[in-house]
Symmetry: C2
Subunit: 320 residues, 2 copies
């Protein structure tokens, strides 16, 4: 391990904010020192409570995250936030607005906020988020909130890493926007109708009740009684109840042996995501332009090409 990585790992384990930020940047940039730090800190991880906050655009997720941070701080817990942001530079205004709203925590060493954008590849965001959560874990944070827009496979992959997933919806969004994917619906542990002071609250509440009813029919073995709460995150209303529900879910996870089981699932997901990236890099390097040219010229079809490359990589070592 390089001296720089060893130094960052030691400072990060002592809880130093700047060292944590450096490690996350290295990991996000795929700097090899990031992997070195991660190897060093990994034995010290496994305690943090990973809480996902997701929902359709406009559901007030960042305001809700802000409220949850404030409530947890009032209870003496330290909180890290990973704001997964699939938006473009063109939305700088909105993002800046969100981050400014979070600024009331800026001087609190018990709060650490980090935004991660989508990477150029499917699965890249998932890897960066996993890695950042491990860094916060090693730094000793009690909770990490992963805040993400609930649209797209990449976001579902991110939700898969949470112990507890909070799904926020709001009154008055159209069906198309309100749409919560089946995968997310099944992943939700706590549901919140945010902006509950708005017109249409009753209808939104009924819609969610119906969805949860359908879910209960689809998942008859689910033992956790999924709560449906109301909030006005902008004024802090409902925050205590949401935290109670999240903490209750964690207690339930531990009693049911689910905390460890979800950790193991996460380990598998994370190895798979990393393996993915490793293999793609190696495979594309080995593919070469000749095969691509043959496919482009219609001399070879893409399915056969992919199978040939995969076979050349794996079969001689591992005969079936």
């Amino acid at each position: 391990m390089s001296q720089a990585a060893a130094d960052i790992a030691a400072r990060l384990l002592a809880g130093e904010t700047a060292a944590g930020a450096r490690a996350i940047r290295w990991l996000d940039d795929r700097d090899p020192r990031g992997s070195e730090v991660l190897s060093a800190i990994y034995p010290h991880t496994g305690r943090i409570h990973v809480v996902g906050v997701t929902g359709p655009p406009g559901a007030g997720k960042s305001t809700m995250t802000d409220m949850l941070v404030a409530e947890w701080r009032a209870r003496g817990r330290t909180v890290a936030v990973i704001a997964v942001d699939p938006s473009s530079p063109f939305t700088g205004g909105a993002i800046l607005g969100d981050r400014v709203r979070m600024a009331r925590h800026a001087l609190d060493p018990g709060v650490f906020i980090r935004s991660l954008g989508t990477r150029g590849q499917a699965g890249g965001l998932s890897r960066s988020t996993h890695d950042a959560a491990l860094v916060f874990d090693a730094m000793g944070f009690d909770v990490v909130i992963v805040e993400t827009v609930g649209v797209g496979q990449d976001e579902i992959d991110v939700v898969n890493l949470a112990h507890t997933t909070v799904i926020a919806v709001v009154p008055g969004l159209g069906d198309e926007i309100q749409a919560v994917k089946a995968g997310l619906m099944e992943a939700g542990d706590v549901f919140v109708v945010n902006k509950a002071d708005r017109e249409g609250y009753e209808a939104a509440h009924r819609q969610m009740e119906m969805m949860l009813h359908l879910r209960a029919l689809a998942l008859p073995d689910a033992a956790w009684p999924v709560p449906l709460l109301r909030a006005v995150a902008l004024t802090g209303q409902g925050g205590a109840e949401i935290i109670d529900a999240i903490e209750g879910h964690r207690a339930w996870l531990e009693e049911a042996g689910e905390f460890a089981r979800r950790g193991a699932l996460r380990a598998r997901e994370q190895v798979a995501a990393l393996l993915h990236e490793e293999l793609r890099a190696r495979a594309l390097a080995l593919t070469g332009d000749d095969i691509v040219a043959a496919v482009a010229a219609r001399r070879l079809d893409p399915h056969t090409a992919a199978r040939q490359i995969a076979a050349s990589l794996t079969e001689r070592n591992h005969p079936a």
Copy 2:
């Protein structure tokens, strides 16, 4: 090749709708006969014009697709539509509504509409879409429209397969929802402000003008003069101008040698996506529970685990 696959390939090449539908279902289901069909038809592909239609939720993409189909049919072109639908069963109503709206083309053999949902894995949607586009290509369709919600990495991967990408926005959506990712913004070849009869059109138009100005600064070498059009897709207004712009873009692509170049890029993307899936399946089968257990128990970190597996698969055959 199995007799069933040979039969479907032959009927598909003769333009038979039912055979095309069967091939797409096999490919989407990862039925091995799908790959057999694809190998047989691949030499007959490479002519279709792949047009992506994307934008934020609520931008009226399916109405716009419907309008483009009608306009192309009026010009004597055959059109296939791949509606990429990352939504859940819970939005069944909305989707049904869209498809019913498309029903006016249902009896027209020159139109073929197929919806594809997200697969369980990142990248899976991209593969299914590529495959379906090849089937339509072999069936002799002139154009295939790939309609997708412009959010999420998976959708960007889908857009990457288009020769021409149309990006739709609408007046009056909030900043967060209006957000078009940088990747999509750069991928756009034709921009449309849809629902142009709504309040806020002028502001939306100005916002897009500004974005296109920023884009021109960021991409000084881009030679195609990106048009910004207006439409009221529900009434068909603006359809002819959009088709003119798309056809103009295709002519420009061919003149500039870009049609072949984008085809080659697509070949690379497609092989990479398929290789991805092949390798993940093989690698996870070889990973085994022991490595996952070691990672879950903190005896091995995930980065090292992934590198070790990748190395065991590839390095003995291909020493660096």
